[in-house]
């Protein structure tokens, strides 16, 4: 297993290098720079600003300087938009927010998705199954930028239970986590239902029944382990996606998370902030996929570390 992990980590090195290189050069090829604005900056001023950030040097020199700083010191450089902050500071401030929102949403998604997925599978082709499947389908189809404002309209504006937006008290966490979690729960529900249906017809379930195991024990102990495999495969990239923040949710609910920084940094041509978040996301996705692989081997005795 250690060999497997070491092997996968080694594989990650060229992957990350390619991601950094491609993002770096694509970003630089995009017209307009961090100092392009509605009102043009006088040339003598622009030259000085560019010199301050080393943008006047040849592109490949800039690339290797950047790469060196990232690899040797973990230094992601100064932000172009927030002149007095470094990308490391911004990530340190914003990542915990995205992690909190993502974690809560994941919790919502798992609780709702697994419960209703299992129930739908057990009550296959009944009214309940159709109801859960319909709601699940809605969850997949209705975009968050519709679902979120609808929740705000009901719970914040009509009922006045929570604030429309902001990230100050725990009440402010409820609507964003529900919105983000609901969409993911729909996927998880459908995957759980499909996985469970497949497993419930297997011989070993019949064996368990024959041995007189209780229904709860059959579902939770025997069926779930196999039925969860598709869900786990989905959770790898899904978790990375949830944890790194959602631009839409963060915008709708005014959450100071990393997703907003990422998207806005591209509009702002904040080169270092774009690269910093891309590197972070890449590392997270690589890590989540690795964890998923480990969990899958643990869940499925047929798989081996090869």
């Amino acid at each position: 297993m250690l060999r497997f992990i070491a092997h996968r980590l080694l594989q990650a090195v060229p992957v990350l290098f390619i991601i950094i290189a491609v993002s770096f050069f694509m970003l630089r090829l995009a017209p307009g720079g961090p100092f392009t604005a509605e009102k043009a900056i006088p040339p003598e001023i622009l030259r000085n600003l560019e010199a301050h950030y080393g943008l006047d040097k040849p592109l490949h020199v800039q690339f290797f300087t950047y790469l060196g700083k990232v690899v040797l010191h973990g230094d992601l450089g100064p932000s172009f938009k927030y002149s007095n902050r470094t990308v490391n500071e911004i990530i340190a401030d914003k990542l915990p927010v995205s992690l909190e929102l993502g974690g809560l949403a994941l919790l919502v998604a798992l609780v709702l998705g697994l419960t209703f997925g299992i129930l739908a599978a057990l009550r296959r082709n009944t009214f309940l199954d159709y109801l859960y499947s319909t709601v699940g389908m809605l969850g997949i189809c209705v975009p968050t930028f519709v679902f979120g404002p609808l929740l705000v309209l009901l719970f914040a504006i009509q009922l006045g239970w929570v604030n429309a937006s902001g990230w100050y008290t725990w009440q402010d966490r409820v609507l964003p986590a529900l919105t983000l979690g609901f969409v993911f729960s729909a996927y998880i529900m459908r995957l759980t239902r499909a996985g469970m249906l497949e497993v419930l017809h297997q011989d070993y379930i019949r064996t368990a029944r024959a041995k007189g195991a209780s229904e709860v024990r059959i579902v939770l102990r025997h069926a779930l382990r196999g039925g969860l495999l598709p869900v786990v495969a989905f959770l790898g990239p899904g978790t990375a996606d949830l944890l790194t923040g959602s631009f839409v949710i963060e915008t709708i609910f005014q959450v100071p998370g990393l997703g907003r920084e990422f998207v806005n940094s591209a509009f702002n041509r904040d080169y270092t902030l774009v690269l910093g978040t891309v590197i972070l996301f890449a590392v997270l996705i690589v890590a989540c996929n690795l964890v998923v692989d480990l969990v899958q081997v643990w869940l499925n005795p047929k798989l081996k570390f090869e």
């Binding site: 100092f35 009102k39 006088p42 129930l119 309209l153 429309a164 902001g166 005014q254 998370g257 806005n264």
Partner: protein, 541 residues
């Protein structure tokens, strides 16, 4: 059985959760008038709080709270009123301005504000290495342009002096009737020399001196905290010379990019003032809550910039035809009535003794068709394929579509539309890589010169690359003119010439919309979107 109980468990938990949160807390608005705390939407976070390193719209609001120049704006009509300077005089030739500082002006750490601070600040702004985006506002100072562009290295030769701690003297390149409104611009605000120098050299950009815990300002408010993308908080500065007049205890700036999100926050009492209003809600507010909707004209012009470098727009007749075929009244009321006002001239009305540009551009289909035929395209026949560029905002998209239809109907010309992401769009305009485009400009200071100097030969924002020595001469002559009436006559002549050559075709002056809670007093819509905060207070409605 355990399983069927689970959904009920979840529903109960969720219901309980929502019930707990139901314990009503007072909203920001309700707390606001008790504690005098203003919550306002501010679009986005400023790049920096350093007044010399500010370029974004949103930075103006925060900077005006934290710093103060020699001269302030009146909160209603923006006429210059005393700020750090309690009085001033100008020499008969209009070239030397002397300002007398008030003795009780202090920095937020208690230090007195001195004339040396203003000399230091001017020197900092004029150092090219600092990279101050608004440094061109200093070109009016004698020798400043040479110093900025490195032709002169001795700052003593630049026209700013401090004869004593209480007196600042500026010497100008040319008489500048709008000098006082320039001084109220944040670029002319002073910075605290010891604080700046503690963090780095005078001309070193982004040293972090303007961050919470370090920033020392001289404005009515002092910086408390700043969490990016969440909230920037300022609190009343007890050292401010006019602190007795300041009613607000705190201001919270919320960077909310989406006007929809902002409007919902306003409706739940989280904000007293918004930055913008969603266009599709404007009519609703007009009908249902007209007192909440603040509509104010803006010192801004939307115009078409034509690229003079190639056909077909190197022919002034074609440019004029396109300009005359646009129905400005219809544009101003599309898609919502009264979103803007029609602009017959390039500089908006409102400043400088009510200078009005010549009413040169209006709908004249007859003449437009005639000009197009004269240029060789009768009824649009044989007109080459042209592409009209605009930025990615919804507003620009609406306008571009309306214009496309007007040109098709009135001129018989098919125009292709091309929307571009903002930075891409500005880059195309700056590099002259476009045929014609939906351009706009908002005034930096309260004088028509801020618009008319755009089209001087070689000017930085001269997107059409218009070069007419006669135009340059008229503007220059106007700027050496002391008599306001004569000066405006010269500016009007220049503008008439501009609109005859038609490198640009003015279309609209936009209107700014905000939502303002009735408890907010003393905050007015102003032409330059500057909002002095000294008189703002919150009363129970």
């Amino acid at each position: 059985m355990l399983l069927p109980a689970v959904p009920r468990l979840i529903t109960t938990t969720l219901a309980a959760l929502l019930l707990v949160s139901c314990a009503k807390q007072p909203t920001n608005v309700e707390r606001g008038f008790r504690e005098q705390v203003l919550h306002l939407g501010n679009l986005s976070d400023p790049r920096d709080l350093d007044p010399h390193h500010n370029f974004d719209d949103s930075a103006f609001y925060t900077t005006m709270a934290l710093f103060e120049g020699l001269v302030n704006f009146d909160p209603i009509d923006l006429h210059p009123v005393p700020g750090v300077a309690e009085r001033w005089e100008v020499s008969p030739d209009g070239l030397v301005w002397t300002f007398h500082l008030r003795a009780n002006a202090r920095w937020s750490n208690g230090d007195p504000v001195t004339a040396e601070d203003f000399v230091f600040s001017a020197r900092r702004m004029c150092s090219a290495a600092l990279g101050a985006e608004y440094s061109y506002l200093f070109h009016v100072l004698r020798g400043a342009r040479d110093y900025l562009q490195g032709r002169q290295t001795d700052f003593a030769k630049v026209g700013v002096k401090a004869p004593d701690a209480g007196t600042v003297r500026y010497e100008l390149e040319h008489p500048c009737p709008y000098f006082l409104t320039l001084l109220a611009h944040i670029a002319w605000f002073p910075v605290h020399a010891p604080t700046v120098l503690k963090a780095g050299r005078i001309d070193e950009p982004y040293t972090g001196w303007s961050m919470p815990g370090k920033l020392v300002g001289n404005g009515p408010f002092a910086l408390v905290s700043w969490r990016q993308n969440q909230e920037l908080i300022v609190r009343k500065n007890p050292y401010y010379w006019d602190a007795a007049r300041v009613q607000l205890q705190e201001i919270h700036y919320h960077p909310i990019e989406s006007s929809e999100v902002e409007e919902r926050a306003f409706r739940t009492g989280q904000l007293q003032l918004t930055y913008d209003v969603p266009a599709n809600k404007i009519d609703l507010y007009r009908r249902t809550q007209p007192t909440v909707l603040l509509e104010s004209p803006w010192y801004q012009t939307r115009f078409i910039s034509f690229n003079l470098a190639g056909p077909p727009f190197n022919d002034p007749r074609v440019r004029l035809a396109f300009g005359l075929a646009a129905d400005r009244t219809q544009l101003a009321n599309f898609p919502v009535p009264r979103l803007a006002s029609a602009a017959p001239s390039a500089s908006p009305p409102g400043f400088g003794y009510n200078y009005r540009g010549p009413a040169a551009m209006g709908l004249d289909v007859e003449r437009a068709r005639h000009l197009l035929a004269e240029a060789g395209y009768p009824d649009g026949r044989g007109f080459p394929r042209v592409e009209f560029r605009f930025d990615a905002s919804d507003r620009s998209h609406d306008l571009a579509q309306a214009l496309q239809e007007m040109w098709r109907k009135n001129l018989g010309v098919q125009v292709a539309l091309a929307s571009q992401e903002n930075r891409l769009f500005f880059t195309s305009l700056n590099r002259g890589e476009y045929q014609f485009a939906l351009d706009s400009y908002f005034g930096d200071y309260g004088d028509p010169n801020t618009f008319l100097s755009l089209w001087l030969t070689g000017a930085g924002n001269n997107h059409p690359r218009y070069a007419n020595p006669a135009y340059d001469r008229l503007i220059d002559e106007a700027n050496h003119q002391l008599d306001p009436a004569h000066r405006f006559a010269l500016l009007a002549d220049a503008e008439t010439l501009l609109l005859t050559d038609a490198p640009v075709a003015p279309l609209l002056h936009e209107i700014r919309f905000r939502l303002r809670h009735p408890s907010v007093r003393g905050w007015h819509g102003t032409l330059l979107e500057m909002h002095p905060l000294q008189d703002v207070r919150l009363d129970p409605p």
